[in-house]
């Protein structure tokens, strides 16, 4: 072994692991109590068991579930894969028509929601509106979010708009989606506004611009991409939500769904489900693409040709130490749920 600068370390050269003196144990910290954690886990367990009883489920139903899934699954698959003669082709077009109507309902609903959500988003942002306004608007938004869209549809929109010229109640459905979108959209937009970088705000306030000018030139440019992404998320959600409105006669795929389920026509059920899955996934893909473009800018692909290597550092396996990631990308939530 070479004689490099060895002034570090105690210089012990023994090759075996030394046992520690007994008093080393005394320096070990006492294990903190896990009582609260364990109690929490216990509580969750008890709540779960109580809920299983409280729901009053019939577990016997689970026993023949696999058999009926296979049986009906085969019927549905047979329906989907049968040779499309005239009636079957009619089923397919009918399903696509209804699904496209659902997409239209979702689009109009999202637009109505979007129209109101922007001003309400500003009113519900703590850094944009005075405290009383903020509290009132936030409360109203919470109430809107708590009411299922089906209630808006049945209780207000259907009587207000009727079943429309087509007799399907599509407009009523769209308006119900629109009103109930306002709650989530405004909340997410207000959170985006609250996260706005304060620098430009400060400078525009310092340069003596009024509230409107500040919003137009300092806030809007920053939040607009995110707002558009939020609207698109909600469009995806609304496509799913429109299905439930249809079950009660407010247009779209839901009406067809409840008809075919009511008649237990499994081949048609299969076709309707396939159409729902295909169209929904397609719209999701397009919407995700646009969202990505809006948020990350279009320069990723449009420049094509020359791949821009920034420097020689490259994507090495190790980079700068990272801070812990944001655990809850909040506008994501709108994407998956409601």
């Amino acid at each position: 072994m070479s004689t490099a600068n060895l002034n570090a370390g105690p210089g012990s050269t023994s090759q075996t692991k030394p046992r520690f003196a007994e008093d080393a144990l005394d320096r070990r910290p006492v294990r903190p109590s896990k009582l609260r954690y364990n109690l929490g886990m216990l509580a969750v367990g008890i709540i779960f068991i109580a809920a299983v009883y409280g729901a009053g489920m019939d577990f016997g139903a689970l026993l023949n579930l696999p058999a009926s899934i296979i049986q009906y699954g085969q019927l549905m698959a047979a329906g989907v894969f049968q040779a499309p003669d005239e009636t079957v082709a009619g089923y397919w077009t009918q399903s696509f028509d209804a699904m496209f109507e659902s997409v239209a309902i979702a689009w109009v609903g999202t637009m109505v929601g979007a129209l109101f959500s922007l001003p309400l988003g500003f009113l519900a942002a703590r850094n944009m509106s005075p405290l009383p306004v903020y509290i009132v608007v936030r409360f109203v938004l919470s109430v809107i979010r708590a009411v299922p869209e089906i209630i808006f549809a049945i209780a207000i929109m259907l009587p207000l708009f009727g079943f429309g010229s087509g007799g399907g109640g599509a407009l009523a459905g769209a308006m119900a989606l629109g009103v109930s979108s306002i709650g989530t959209l405004s909340k997410l937009i207000s959170e985006a506004i609250e996260a706005v970088d304060g620098g430009p705000l400060e400078s525009s306030r310092a340069s003596g611009s009024n509230q409107m000018q500040m919003i137009r030139w300092a806030v809007m440019p920053q939040v607009m991409p995110e707002v558009i992404a939020i609207w698109l998320y909600r469009f995806e959600v609304n496509i799913r939500a429109s299905a439930i409105l249809g079950v009660l006669g407010a247009g779209g795929i839901g009406a067809l769904l409840s008809t075919v389920f009511g008649a237990r026509e499994w081949d048609r059920i299969g076709i309707v489900l396939v159409v729902i899955i295909v169209v929904t996934m397609l719209v999701d893909q397009i919407s995700a693409f646009i969202r990505h473009r809006v948020i990350h800018g279009g320069d990723l692909r449009s420049d094509g040709g020359e791949p821009q290597e920034d420097d020689d550092a490259g994507p090495g396996p190790e980079n700068e130490p990272r801070v812990e990631n944001d655990p809850a990308p909040k506008e994501n939530r709108a994407a998956a749920g409601l």
Binding site: A4, S12, A24, R27, P29
Partner: protein, 259 residues
Amino acid sequence: MITFENIDVVYPNGFKGLSNVNLQINKGEFVAIVGLSGAGKSTLIRTVNGLVPFTSGTLTVGDVVVDPRSKAKLRRLRSRVGMIFQSFNLVTRVSVLNNVLVGRSADTPTWRSLLGWYRAEDKELAFQSLERVGIVDKAYMRAASLSGGQQQRVAIARVLAQDPEVILADEPVASLDPPTAHKVMRDLRRIQQELGITTIVNMHHLDLARSYADRVIGMRAGEVVFDGPVEEATDEVIEQVYQRSLTAEDIVTAEAAQE
């Protein structure tokens, strides 16, 4: 003993990370690898435990011939080769002790890991490792609440809990301030001497390499361009490796070493 025979690494994008590396690193040696950023230091160190698979040549660690394609064999190899990272790579949300116990994974049944019920002897080993790096009092604190130097010591303890034959350290002190950097290097050196663990450390600070290593390996563009004991790694030689004259950035401030 670690032997590289004609090792090449070609990255999936076609970039040649290492070309024709031949090295022999003896048991219990403390080796510093120096070179500019992008020279292939990390690549070299990561081939040893298979984090970067080599594409041709033969690599043996101890009596094991490394086979980058067999996941099971790699796991067994990795359980005997510990690794320390520039950014500590601790799970910051869990306790120091649990971080150290990650090092026991290879010898712990999966169900125990899943439930977090470690055997008493594993915990004992984790505590001993923490004692060796001197932060046993922090055992039940969240890793996030520790300073950079303390976090790196937890990372060293995690490696010690593996009871390793080889320690690989990829720029272990690059994100620490000079006095802390020296403390951590001193810890590594002491552990290498006490336990006779072969230690390979990447660094770009020359003076650290000179004051703690037995042997210096210089790399440039994926090739080993210098290999010799510290005494031979003079400024001229290193300037040859770097292909530029040395600057103040290549050394950690001298007075810090006296701390």
